[in-house]
Structures are given as C-alpha cells and as structure tokens.
C-alpha cells in the first residue's frame, strides 16, 4: 500500500476516524490501534514479513530490559551483542549476502579459482533498513545508559513500526518518539491542518515532479547510447531533482500523517539543494540517517578529533557505511567515496561548520557569493548522483564519458512540458519556505484565505492531472 495510492486514501481516514473517535479516550487504545494499523499496513505489502518485524521487535524489547537489568558487564554485553548481531544478521542476509557472495566469486576468479556458493533468491523485506536502525539505536542508547528501557511492549512496538515511518523513515530515536507514545495525544487543529498541508506538498513533489522526472531520466539512463551529451547532463540534473522530490516527498507525507495522529517525527530534509557546501548538504539531506551515523559511528570512532589519518579513516568509514546502508552495489560505494572526498577539505580546513544557518536568512535573495556556492555544491551533488543512479560502475563511467563528448553542445532531448513549468515553481516555493520546517508551512496563515484555497485546489488538480498508476518511492528499495 503506497502513500500515493487510492487504497491508502481509504486506509488513512478509517484509521484517523477510529483513532480520534473510538480510541480517543485512552492511551492504550490509541497505541493498540496504531499498532494494529501499522501491522495491517505492512502486511498489505507482504504478510509473511510481519513475523520478521514482530521477531525483531520482541528481541530488541526483551534485550533492552535484560541489558538494563544485567548485574554484570558480561551479561550486559551478551544481550547487547545478541540484539545487534541478530538485527545486523537479518539485514546482511536479506540485503548483502548475494552481493558479497558474488563479489567474492569474482574476486577469487582472478586467481583462477572457481566456486559455486549457495546464493539466496529472496525479496528484500521493505523497510528492513529503517526498522533495524530504529531497534539498533534503542539498544545502543540503553547499553550506553542514555535511556531506560521501555517496559510497555505495545509502546515499543509502535515506536518500531508506526506506519508512516515504517517503510522509509525518518529513522526515529527512542528519546524522541517513545515519550510521545507514552503520553495521551490530544487533537490539535493547527497541527492537523499543517499535516494536511505537508501531505499535499509531499504528494505534489512525488507525483508531479519526481514521477515526471523519472520518465525522462529512465529513458536516458536505460538507453544512454542513443542520446546526446546535453541530454545526459539534463538527465543527471533531473535525477537529482527526482530523488529529492521522491524521498523528501515521501518524508513530507509521513511527517504530515504523523501530525494527524498528534505525533511529531524527526525532520529528514531541510532544503538540501540550497546548501553552500557539502558539509551543509549532509546536515540537510536525510538528516535522520546522517545523524544516526554521526551519533553511533562517527563520534564513537573519534569524530573529527585525532590526527589526519584518523580523521580521514572516520570520514571514509561513515560514508562507506552510509553507502552500504543504501544497498549492496559498487555504485553506492562509489557514490559514498565521492562524497567522502568532497567533504574532506572542509573537515581539514575546519570550515565544515561555516554554514549552519539557512542561506540568506531573513532576506529575499541570496548574494552572488551564496548563489555561486549553491550552484557549485549542487553541481558536485549532481555528479555524485550519477553513480547512485547507474546500474553499474561501468555504466556510470559511460554516462560521464557521454557528457564529455562533443554532443554536449547539442540541443537535449525534449523534456516533458510539466517539468519545465513545475520545477521552477518547486524551487520558488521551497525558497520562500526555507526558514520553516516544510515549504508550505509559512503559506498556512499568509495571504487572503481565498487565494490560499485556490492554490490548494490548484495543487490537487495538478496532482490528479499527473497521477498515473502509483509509482514506488525510490527509498522503498532500501
């Protein structure tokens, strides 16, 4: 059941009405309903994997209690490593086993050796990377003594499987979400209206921009040989916009839905394409994953402390881990390495925290220097996305070599009209809303009511106009 499907637009109002009408009086009922709805939502994709989700939830819940109760360090470590290894074990089995097995075969083939290892042909349980990271952050926090374990199984289960974030995040922290789940939610009109606005903007980004860009990009990436260098540049730029609108569109919908249930989720995107350097980009892109790796990998490794070698090692480890989190493919690793290289100068020159505030705060337009910095950063990111999108490293290099050919100066293949109209609108609205948590937030109370209503109806019309068969979100595969 996709967020952009009719099925979901039946499911959501039913759960919403039950939540505020039937379960409104009692916290236990509220959480039980959310849990049932979440498992139903997950089962609509593949009911068999609900058992895996429940198993993972039970293990982490029980391990958390055992870790906090452990009378000695050995027992504490045992439960910690049991939970971590089982969680990562499942993740590796479903996501990485075939990749490592085939890479190993290719590697030893260079030495003239041939083996025929056992390969598994299973589908990747949707959302496994996200809910595994929920569980891991919970267990690590308990192990470090940062939080106390949750004693209520239903509360903990909702934390892991709350349906808006179950499939593609944001990756929540127990310190942020669990306290909300332990408190009875009361209906908040303004929050709900803002949630609806955010859902609307998310749907616009996904259906109108991302899906339309995908039509163009898919053609060029699939049939690269038949298109000019200029078409390749355009496809790379459009893919950068596609992946942003796809993922941040999903996140906007997820956060908007959570608001309807009185729950605030972590922010995942903060207008990343308005970043002036790579470090700022990574503070604004997939924030919940970046901060997860920062807190649980980068800082424990030593962070930006220590010598040059140690700093370099830490940066590369984090970016390779982040790349592998996205999937088992050398293209992701290349993308991660490229970003690590991009960010290195700012770490060594200690300029990585230069741009903490949003660009041109309080101003209408950026300065020339800021504009230039944003364009250069965007260009670097577009280049790295080529590796992320390509089927293989070879295909990525072919794509780049095509860009560098003489056909770069030809007229690119025709772009769908909708994209030409709506991408500038997207950037204008996002620019106007960049100081807020989402683009339409500031729009909420500004201007005459009639104009606001007209804009909402116009957005809905455009969404319906471009809505085809529901397209999957890119991050569902991770």
């Amino acid at each position: 059941m996709l967020f952009n499907s009719i099925d979901f637009f039946i499911f959501l109002p039913v759960v919403f009405i039950l939540y505020w009408l039937v379960a409104n009086k009692n916290l236990i009922f509220q959480n039980l309903l959310l849990l049932a709805a979440s498992y139903f939502f997950y089962a609509c994709w593949d009911w068999r994997f609900v058992f895996l989700l429940i198993f993972s939830t039970c293990l982490d819940f029980y391990s958390g209690i055992k870790i906090s109760k452990a009378s000695n360090i050995t027992s504490k470590r045992f439960w910690f490593w049991l939970s971590v290894s089982v969680n990562l074990g499942f993740l590796c089995l479903f996501k990485y086993y075939n990749f490592f097995a085939s890479s190993f075969i290719q590697f030893i083939a260079h030495f003239g050796l041939r083996i025929d290892p056992f390969t598994i042909n299973v589908i990747l349980p949707v959302g496994i990377s996200f809910y595994t990271f929920h569980g891991l952050s919970y267990i690590i926090d308990i192990y470090k003594g940062a939080i106390k374990p949750e004693r209520n199984f239903v509360n903990y289960s909702v934390f892991v499987s709350f349906f808006p974030l179950l499939i593609a995040g944001p990756i929540e922290r127990a310190t942020h979400l669990l306290p909300q789940l332990k408190t009875k939610r009361n209906f908040d009109y303004n929050k709900s209206i803002d949630g609806c606005r955010q859902i609307l903007w998310g749907l616009f980004k996904k259906i109108v921009i991302a899906d339309q860009c995908a039509l163009y990009c898919n053609h060029i990436f699939r049939d690269s040989a038949n298109y000019s260098g200029s078409s390749h540049v355009l496809a790379a730029v459009l893919f950068a916009i596609q992946i942003y609108c796809d993922f941040s569109g999903y996140t906007d919908i997820a956060i908007g839905i959570a608001k309807l249930f009185g729950i605030e989720l972590l922010r995942n995107f903060a207008f990343p394409y308005f970043s002036r350097d790579i470090a700022e980009f990574w503070r604004r892109w997939h924030i919940s994953l970046s901060s997860w790796f920062k807190d649980y990998l980068y800082i424990p490794l030593g962070g930006s402390k220590g010598g040059t070698l140690q700093k370099t090692r830490n940066i590369f480890i984090v970016f390779i881990a982040s790349a592998l989190w996205h999937g088992a493919n050398w293209t992701f690793i290349a993308w991660g390495l490229l970003n690590a290289i991009y960010i290195m100068p700012s770490i060594f020159l200690k300029t990585n925290r230069n741009n903490l505030e949003i660009v041109a705060k309080g101003k209408i337009l950026p300065t020339f220097k800021e504009t230039l910095a944003m364009v250069v950063t965007f260009g670097l990111i577009v280049f790295s996305w080529i590796f992320f999108r390509a089927e293989s490293i070879g295909a990525a290099f072919k794509f780049i070599s095509k860009i560098l050919s003489f056909s770069l100066f030809s007229i690119p293949a025709v772009v769908p009209k909708g994209i030409i109209i709506f991408i500038p609108i997207l950037f204008m609205v996002e620019w106007a809303g960049r100081e807020h948590s989402h683009a339409l937030e500031c729009f909420g109370n500004k201007g005459p009511r009639l104009i606001r209503l007209a804009v909402y109806y116009l957005l809905i019309f455009v969404i319906f106009y471009y809505a085809g068969p529901s397209q999957n979100f890119i991050y569902f595969q991770f």
Partner: protein, 323 residues
C-alpha cells in the same frame, strides 16, 4: 443506541472544527469527481456497445469471435456467411474471452462456432498483469464481469486525468464518439490510410509480446481447455488460429515461445473432438499491403482473412465431429 449528540460529544471542539473544515474543503473535489465519473460512464465506448449488443443479440449469434486486437482487426463479420459478432477487444486475454462466454451462458441459443486466436503471446500473458491492465475496469464497469475488487478497476476516474478530460471534451463538446468498431464489432481503427512503419512496429511488437517467463502458461492452457469443455457442453465447435503477421514481426519472435505456443495449440486441438487449429502466422496470401502494422491487418487484409475464415469454418465442420 448512541444518539447524535453523544457522538458529537466524543469529538472535541478542535476536532469538530477540523472535520468541518475538511468536509467543506473536500466537498467540491468529491462533487467534481462524482460528476466526472457519471459523465465518463455515459460516453459510449466499444465495451459498452459490445456488452449491450450481446445482452440483446447473443441468442442470434452463430459465429462468435473472441480474442485480442489481432482478432479485433482481422475478422470482419460482414464477410462471414453466418450471423457473426466480433466480441474481441484490445489486449483481451483468454480469461476474459472465457468470462464473456460464461456471462451469456444460457443465451447462446444459435451459437455453432467460437473463433479464438491463439497468438504468440496468448499463453504467456494475462490482461491483469500486462501493461494494459487498466483495461480491466472496462469489463468490471461495462460488461459487469467482476474480476477485481481493486478500486482502480471499478471507477473511470482512476484513469489518468488528461485522458479523461480528452474523452469528455471529445464526446460532450466535439460530439465525437469513442466507439471505434462497426456494428458487428470489427475494429475501424486499423485503416490502410494510417499504415505504420512495418520494420519498427515489428520489432517493437515482438519485444512487447515476448514473455520474460512462463508463469501464466499453465493458467492459460487451463483456460483454453475450459473454453473447449464449455463449448463441447453446448455442442459448439472451437476454431483456434494463430494470426497472420508480417515478416518483420515473425523474424523477431522468440523461437521457443512461438514453438511452444504452436505445439500446445496443435496438441490441444488434436485432443478434443470439437476443436481445430490453424497456424496462419506466415500465410502467404497476406502481402505487405494487407498490413496496418507488422502484427495487425488493415481493412484489405481483414477482408481476405474474413473470407478465408469461411473456408476454415467449413473445414472445421467437415473434419471434426463429436459423437
């Protein structure tokens, strides 16, 4: 029983305000959607026409033509000597052929022959799982053949908005009909005036029709057998054939898929007393000018084929009989 006041009491004033606001906001969208749905359903189309025709005339039909766009384009009942109707449609799979037959069960009073194409893709694809799966809604809405509970397959507005706006504009403002078939169900769209590039269309169609796997094969074979059994019970003869196609199509087909299709159709036809099979894929009577594109005949080719079908019906009549 809780009264209205009690239910309202459960809502907080904030919630009441939200529901009110959302209802007022959604109402125009719902009304417009409902109007669209009604307007779209009123537009005559091939499915609606064929369904209405069969509702009224199924008892008079002697030769029933089923199948996909190949049969739709190539068999014109006007040239068939018996009372005939072409109930085929774009991408209509064997399962839907069988469902149409069953829908009018008890009304086939004069039916003697059922013509079903067994083409290169027939045993390897289904309508619901193909790129034209959106057509399923036409069977749900207009034929009343309920095959899917999916909301997409039961409402017209789930089709994309530009297409729906075009249909509404064409019918209500420009008075253009959506019906693209003759009164006897034969397609009018495959005109020789709009001839397609045979090389390009051959390659594209062959690629589109080549299956990635054979996951639907057994299911479709079973449907073929069910059609035969059904016809046998009604003392009706089945004529299976593989449609004629231009060489640019044939040359690009997967030989294994083609061989398996022909062998299966032959084997099934040989096992039943009421069934014959003709492989016309490379029939030499069809020349370049008979084709609309590499896998569809135009009106010239269709006339040739329909006349030839009379002979094939005679062969079926003479060669096979069930005691």
């Amino acid at each position: 029983m809780p009264d209205r006041r009690r239910i309202l009491f459960i809502f907080s004033s904030e919630m009441n305000k939200f529901y009110k606001c959302l209802t007022i906001f959604s109402l125009p969208i719902l009304i417009v959607s409902l109007c669209f749905e009604l307007l779209l359903r009123e537009i005559p189309n091939n499915y609606k026409y064929k369904s209405n025709y069969l509702d009224e005339n199924s008892k008079n039909i002697t030769v029933l033509i089923l199948g996909s766009s190949h049969a739709f384009a190539e068999l014109n009942p006007a040239y068939i000597k018996y009372s005939s109707f072409n109930a085929s449609n774009f991408s209509q799979s064997l399962e839907f052929d069988f469902k149409i037959l069953k829908k009018y069960d008890g009304k086939w009073n004069n039916l003697k022959y059922i013509i079903v194409p067994v083409d290169y893709f027939s045993l390897y694809s289904t309508l619901e799982n193909g790129i034209e799966s959106w057509r399923v809604r036409n069977y749900n809405i207009y034929y009343g053949i309920h095959t899917s509970c999916n909301i997409y397959d039961n409402i017209e507005i789930s089709n994309n908005l530009p297409a729906n706006l075009l249909r509404i504009n064409n019918f209500y403002l420009r008075q253009m009909s959506d019906i693209t078939c003759s009164t006897s169900g034969w397609a009018l769209t495959y005109s020789s005036k709009n001839k397609q590039d045979l090389l390009k269309s051959g390659k594209e169609a062959a690629e589109r029709h080549s299956a990635k796997n054979n996951q639907y094969f057994n299911r479709n074979v079973q449907v073929l057998k069910s059609i035969i059994e059904y016809a046998k019970g009604k003392k009706v003869k089945i004529i299976f054939y593989t449609s004629p196609a231009y060489t640019t199509y044939v040359e690009n087909l997967n030989p294994d898929q083609l061989k398996n299709t022909i062998n299966t159709a032959t084997k099934i036809a040989n096992s039943y007393c009421n069934t014959v099979y003709f492989n016309l894929l490379t029939d030499s009577i069809f020349k370049k000018d008979d084709f609309f594109d590499a896998d569809h005949l135009n009106e010239v080719g269709s006339k040739k084929f329909s006349i030839k079908m009379n002979n094939l019906i005679d062969i079926a009549e003479k060669s096979k009989s069930c005691r």
